[in-house]
Symmetry: D2
Subunit: 345 residues, 4 copies
């Protein structure tokens, strides 16, 4: 069976696991006060060129979003996102569980466009009834988006400017940030740290067993550790994340791993296009979204695992994802399978 279903089908990148083994018996304090976490925080501050940054490690993406958003919003505020935003669709209402509204606006290819955001925010404050409405208190973007697309530096700068002009923090969900950083011509970690008020660097989907690094480039809100604890997100063995992020950021592994997965994804995309498949979205990152006739899909059953995305006439949009665990041979193997099947099923 070929696995292109997602980027979290295996354990950790071998170098990450190796580090866990090497450090396993060293005694350290709990709750993120261990030397590994301290060192990982230092490495992340350097990678972000944000010497004042506060860094917290959490265990998963939905959790990180809920803690960051619920922790920053004031009681009368909600978070603005694209209609397709992960927090609006696939997090089971985690933001609302913390008492806040998710206010979705139309996006394009999974992205929020700065003019649309500006119009939305202007409209809100111009509305004579806005005191009876949820105030927009944060803007959420994902990068890569749920469709694999990326914000250009110009786009991110413009969004950041809109947010600044309304005094609203910009938050980036970086569940798959490695694959954004590994794509051609994308924004850098330093750009992100400069333009966002808070963001997270995803570990789970980028080579770790678990773990996300939440970064506040200009410092975290007061008593954020207590807030993490309150929301059930403080690991007793904080070292579990610390060690992994040390391994990922000590010698640039995070960047390499993103780069190699994107290269394979580009090979995959080229091969799909060559074979006549249309793409639902042109993604420059590790997730590819071919439109596949349903008859063909059935034939892949038992041979290739993919993610079902959405129906599209007689065909379906599926997601094929690469990761550190994907090999060139996997891509070749997929092509072979496809070559033995007519595209129209």
């Amino acid at each position: 069976m070929l696995y292109f279903e997602n980027d979290y089908s295996e354990g950790a990148h071998p170098l990450v696991l190796k580090r866990l083994c090497e450090t396993n018996l060293v005694s350290q304090p709990g709750y993120g006060e261990d030397a590994y976490s301290e060192n990982a925080r230092r490495l992340l501050r350097e990678a972000c060129r944000a010497p004042e940054a506060d860094v917290y490690f959490l265990s998963g993406g939905t959790q990180t979003n809920a803690v960051a958003i619920g922790g920053l919003l004031r009681p009368w505020e909600g978070v603005v996102c694209a209609k397709t935003g992960h927090i609006n669709v696939h997090e089971a209402g985690a933001v609302e569980f913390s008492g806040h509204k998710v206010m979705s606006i139309a996006g394009k290819g999974g992205k929020i466009e700065a003019p649309a955001l500006r119009a939305y925010l202007s409209g809100f404050f111009a509305d004579p009834n806005h005191e009876h409405m949820v105030f927009p208190g944060m803007v959420y973007i994902s990068h890569p988006t749920e469709y694999g697309t990326l914000y250009s530096l110009a786009e991110l700068t413009e969004l950041s400017d809109v947010c600044k002009s309304f005094h609203i923090p910009l938050y980036m969900d970086g569940a798959r940030l490695a694959y954004a950083l590994g794509a051609d011509g994308g924004v850098t970690l330093a750009d992100i740290a400069r333009l966002c008020d808070v963001f997270y660097i995803g570990g789970t989907k980028c080579g770790a067993l678990c773990g996300e690094a939440l970064i506040f480039p200009k410092g975290a809100p007061e008593h954020f550790l207590t807030l993490i604890k309150q929301r059930g997100a403080l690991l007793a063995k904080g070292r579990l994340c610390g060690v992994q992020f040390e391994a990922l950021f000590e010698d640039g592994l995070y960047f390499e791993l993103g780069k190699s997965a994107v290269e394979l994804a580009m090979a995959l995309k080229a091969g799909l296009l060559n074979r006549g498949f249309r793409l639902f979205m042109d993604s420059p990152t590790n997730q590819q979204f071919p439109i596949v006739p349903n008859a063909l899909l059935e034939k892949l059953e038992g041979r290739v695992r993919y993610s079902y995305w959405e129906p599209c006439g007689d065909a379906s949009v599926i997601r094929l994802a690469t990761s550190w665990a994907t090999t060139p041979a996997d891509v070749e193997e997929l092509f072979k399978i496809l070559d033995n099947m007519p595209i129209d099923g």
Copy 2:
């Protein structure tokens, strides 16, 4: 430096880590649908003699408590616990964050006594104003308690009977359950599964890198997976917990590890008593609570790590914990240090 500070100062028991390494490259579905989690659930059902049980893996204790309690309580209900209960003191208000009151009653040695519970519940329903009050909707106990003490089978049975007579579920926080099961003459997993409506088998403090197994012996509430997701507690790489619990329960490792830590703790207790220390609480498990003169405490600085518990006149209650990572040599070393210091500082 000697570490007796807690039972989560190191990584995972080597056999647990070994299993993570062995399975690392096998591709598996996410969110707990992997073969390892499935097998671990089977092993846990067997260990609990609860063939109908539903089992969910979460990543930490506070999270598990919050999800289980917040998920089972109905909106007008709160959870009853001993005043010293972990959820009442050291979880930063995680239960209240989910909208529910923690109703504490006086306990003894960290335990709720059945007659006190019965009196409390009877009093509540007899109060003519009880419709203006939070209804008791669950009883929370920890086993071992925050003071290392244990419920006897008779005590647990009586508590269970009280709960049943008021139609209120009994929930056991088993963060350190291995050390309860490893103590002499304690209740068994099958007893617990028979007498509690829901409980968790702690991994983080009992040899895993992270992970707790939440058990509903008679089946989980509807859509519990969605509730876990909503509260940010669903790991994408569910295998991380599945593999670890497989390793812990396949050949009885969990029980052995509890037993050996308790044996060392009993040696530690005996040695402390022989050296003239008084104990704050007589604990049959891996946590020991000697009362140590403050002058002596200062001398331990830099040589032994312990947990500060509470002041006690000119002395302090401290906690010394053993775990799978503690060796007989560690205990001997501690004794040597103490023998070179007069107990009165």
Copy 3:
């Protein structure tokens, strides 16, 4: 100054106030256990032809929505409504504050259409990822809608059928129900009680000082009084609502008051159309939505109070509302003012 701003600009209908005066010194128990509330509940059950109904009085519309919705939804569920639904826009996130998502779907003229609802619900349960999403757990409609429109009996029956087929309760926000009941050919209270699982009969905007009657035709959920108390919605002097609803329902005042306001609104509509105004929405109830050139709007300043609704090119949609306090002379006076101003400003 002429008041067409809303239907809550004055105190109570004189007969309601008279009853408050007559009963003022009679001693009665608190919290809704008074004889007036008891009698009002009986009258409401009769008016709804729902002898099994449970009736609770609350003080305002947002509160009633939040208590009813938050009280009925299970933790993993949200409420489906039209994009323009009051709970989605103008209640400051009250539903989300209780932890639940408001899931908006496109509506038409403020109404949800049954086929769109069916498609949405089918799509949800067909989605392979729906366990990671908020479950639709209730459908919210307003009647009249925020645009004054009404569901026909056929439409309401069809919505009710869709809800039943998915085992999801249908909830009607009747903040202005008097004006729906007073319109030609509308559904009756008995229809509503038969087709909805829960609804409220608005008092505040229909002649009372305050107060809404929440009706569960088939009985309320367990311990609903405690839930009302918990959400700060239980009046100590429950008689305040009881007396008012007695006055409104004893001799059909509620129905008369709705009817007369609608008659004046129809006269208003006819006069506006005669004078060349276009209507944003054809409303059969007490709220009318003319499109008024901005230049003309300015001239109304200081002479007529209206509600600003939304911009519409060089013009604006405004709302003119009638109520029990509106007189035929008020409508005539408005026409005189308009007749002295050219419609194009």
Copy 4:
């Protein structure tokens, strides 16, 4: 039947109702922007000698507590109160519903003592684990307390000083404030406004149909109106509260009404003591708490309504409350009834 059950058994004080009638047909804007509310706010600022105060009207006590406490606390904070505090016992968990812990400490006669508060707060911040605990973020007192007792000026000043030294706001629940102000030698409204950070002046139990005036002497938090709306506590007909508080504060009615009820309560107390009854608590306000043999209680059935407080051996503590609606004749009548019954039943 004689009514001493509570102070909310009748409608409004006749002068309050008269004002509602006089103003009934005047058209005014909604949501508290009416001229009556504006004037009432001015009168309250004057009465409190707090020219900078922000004033909001809400409809009931539990609601006001929940909005004020939930609105001021930051996410990681809870509210400290006496074990007997209304928010801890009789508000069905309204504070916890907003996500915050109620942290109760032992009180005396319903009051928090400053040394106990100081010890609690010092202990919290000295605890090495306090980052894993709920931070005390507000102190709640009731005045009169749930037992009718009062804080002296010295006591209130000392509490205020403790709060200031820990930078924690002091909140006073004044559900029955009229009866505190009407008692001999009590603190004044100006004292309260000077010493508390936020408090409310109760209307419902002090002569209004409904309504409480929430006062922030130094100004309210940002966007507090939206927060009130979000929690379902913003009345569309804000005038309902505005008119009533105008009537209560224009000519000192609130103070008179408190004074006369307290005078009757003192006569009641003297008469009870003369007749050999013991008092559970020596209350200087309108609530009296005699200890009554159960046999005697039964004989009162059908003749006198009282509130049952708690068992006390073979007797019971009951509450007898006076109000503006109580007459000297009512007290005499009660004495006659008692004189015809032996105190031992």
